[in-house]
């Protein structure tokens, strides 16, 4: 189970965001009610949430930043723009 993908939320989501995302996911019916409830439960618990972040959220920014190359669309001397983690199709 990938709760971030089910609820379509990223690393910084607050508890309120998660509850709202669960309500939206219920309405969309792309996942069963049980799956949505389990995803919500997994992300509301800090320990479980951290574990799922480790498993599901890909963060390639540090790997790209470690390379000697200016990010695309940015002049070589400009600071890198902040980037988010990747979990799902619409994340």
């Amino acid at each position: 189970m990938d709760p971030h993908r089910i609820l379509n939320v990223g690393r910084g989501a607050s508890k309120r965001d998660i509850i709202q995302a669960a309500a939206i996911a219920m309405r969309k019916r792309q996942h069963t009610g049980k799956e949505v409830a389990e995803a919500q439960k997994a992300l509301m618990d800090p320990v479980s949430r951290a574990a799922h972040e480790f498993v599901d959220l890909l963060n390639i920014a540090p790997l790209q930043d470690s390379l000697d190359v200016a990010p695309p669309g940015v002049p070589a001397d400009a600071p890198s723009p902040p980037r988010s983690d990747v979990s799902g199709e619409s994340a």
């Binding site: 320990v47 951290a50 480790f54 390379l67 799902g88």
Partner: protein
């Protein structure tokens, strides 16, 4: 309007493409290369479809132009990985990570561990990847800091992550996957070992990078450093056996130790170092050979005595393994296996005459002698000698006691029969009278009965009754047949 059908010439699959000239892709000329480099750079600067640049740069690999764009392509490779991750195409990510590097930043280790986990959710074939990276990643100091602020919370998250991976392996095992069954065994060993390393380094942050599994330590060339950590914490182990076993898993024999846990005996033997460079490798060698020898005793294949030659040396360090040998020996009943056990236990007994080894050796001597006797390879006398030897080793060996008693009775019956056949009746009577075994006397009286029945003619029968009554009385005056034949004599 009638559609014009395209007609394809049918041909045998082996001929397909035979009429198409296949040539290796031409390498781009220097001019083309330069144009391609400029084009890729331009696309990269514009930020348009960066992920695709990775594939489009492929023709430049192994050319002079590659150095110019290597970093840019590597950047694009990560973008491609990100794209594939979003599309959940984890199988397509793995080739982009191969060959696995031998140095890892925390982020790189995380990426490899995450990918391995996702792949392992799709097939048990990816469990080796999971086992290479997972435990070492979840114990990584930098990655752990991202879990939570306090050590206690980090430990809880780590516990969850370990359980998630272990549940995955156990799930495949529950489905009957044999590789998962084997993988779980070495997973449990590595889980214990890395937890041990973590405990050792709890108050030594400078050594935290040594909190890795044996498999990962071997991959990144940290095994020697971890062995140093184990050596420095010798007092942290309850026994020498535990100390050596831990080090053996990180030593040059470590891969063999893990293969052994997985029950891959032939591979474990093949992976052993030819000349062990340290005490841990030597211990690994002895453990692997010991386990393979026991396995051979169980299967009845190979020559276990070759692998158990140095069992006594091993028992000095790991006395509990003696029980494994003794238990295994108890299940051996075939002649060849018993012969191997005899050689092994005799050798061990010479160095280590413990009660358990004496009992096992006594049992093996007894069983082997009985098997040889039953296949008519030894006589009653040799059988009796073997039983006495077994009883010298273990006087409480019930099987030897019973067999010896039966054997001695058989020997006496044989001797008595020979005496009767040679008409040495005084000797036959003495043997029957002095025997401790009632079956010897029973046999004597049966012979006498048969002899009496076979006598023809009155005068001869008369003489025979006199002789038989005297012989029987010499053996047992109170025996019913003695009384019967004496009665017949008095009737004359």
């Amino acid at each position: 309007m009638a559609k014009k059908k395209k007609r394809r010439k049918r041909q045998h699959p082996s001929q397909a493409g035979a009429d198409r000239k296949v040539t290796a892709p031409d390498k781009p000329t220097p001019e083309t290369r330069q144009l391609l480099v400029e084009s890729l750079r331009s696309r990269f600067r514009s930020g348009h479809d960066v992920a695709a640049i990775y594939d489009d740069a492929e023709p430049l690999r192994n050319t002079d132009a590659w150095d110019e764009i290597a970093s840019m392509v590597a950047y694009c490779k990560y973008a491609r990985i990100e794209q594939l991750w979003r599309e959940e195409r984890y199988e397509a990510i793995k080739p982009l990570l191969l060959p696995y590097p031998h140095e890892f930043s925390a982020s790189s280790l995380h990426l490899h561990a995450q990918t391995a986990f996702k792949l392992a959710t799709t097939s048990a074939a990816y469990l080796p990847d999971l086992m290479l990276f997972w435990l070492s990643a979840v114990y990584d100091e930098e990655l752990s800091r991202a879990f939570a602020e306090t050590n206690e919370d980090q430990d809880r998250v780590r516990g969850d992550l370990i359980r998630m991976a272990e549940d995955l392996i156990r799930g495949y095992r529950a489905d009957g996957d044999e590789t998962a069954t084997a993988a779980l065994k070495s997973w449990l060993i590595e889980k214990k070992l890395i937890a041990e390393r973590y405990t050792f380094c709890a108050d030594k942050p400078e050594l935290r990078h040594l909190v890795v599994t044996p498999r990962f330590a071997g991959h990144i060339g940290l095994s020697e450093a971890v062995l140093g950590l184990i050596r420095d914490n010798r007092n942290g182990y309850a026994s020498e056996d535990m100390f050596l076993a831990a080090g053996a898993c990180y030593s040059a024999g470590g891969r063999s130790m893990l293969l052994l846990e997985e029950g891959r005996y032939d591979e474990a033997l093949a992976a052993l170092p030819k000349s062990p460079p340290d005490a841990w490798s030597e211990y690994a060698l002895q453990r692997v050979r010991f386990a393979c020898g026991l396995h051979m005793l169980g299967t009845g294949e190979g020559r276990p005595e070759r692998y158990l030659k140095r069992a006594a040396d091993l028992f000095e360090k790991s006395p509990q393994l003696e029980d494994d040998l003794v238990k295994k020996v108890q299940d051996v009943h075939e002649e060849a296996g018993l012969q191997s056990c005899l050689e092994i236990l005799t050798r061990v007994h010479a160095r280590r005459p413990s009660k358990a080894i004496k009992q096992a050796l006594s049992l093996v001597i007894t069983r082997r002698a009985i098997v040889l006797y039953n296949s008519r390879k030894i006589s009653n006398a040799v059988l009796a000698t073997s039983m006495r030897k077994a009883l010298d080793m273990d006087p409480e060996n019930e099987l030897a006691l019973r067999s010896l008693r039966d054997t001695v009775a058989s020997v006496e019956i044989d001797e008595m029969t020979r005496a009767i056949d040679k008409h040495k009746m005084n000797r036959a009577c003495r043997l029957a009278a002095e025997s401790d075994h009632p079956e010897v006397r029973d046999r004597f009286f049966r012979y006498m009965e048969q002899m009496l029945e076979s006598v023809q003619g009155e005068s001869i029968r008369h003489r025979a009754i006199i002789d038989i009554s005297e012989w029987c009385a010499a053996v047992d005056e109170t025996h019913p047949f003695t009384e019967k034949v004496c009665g017949m004599r008095e009737g004359f």
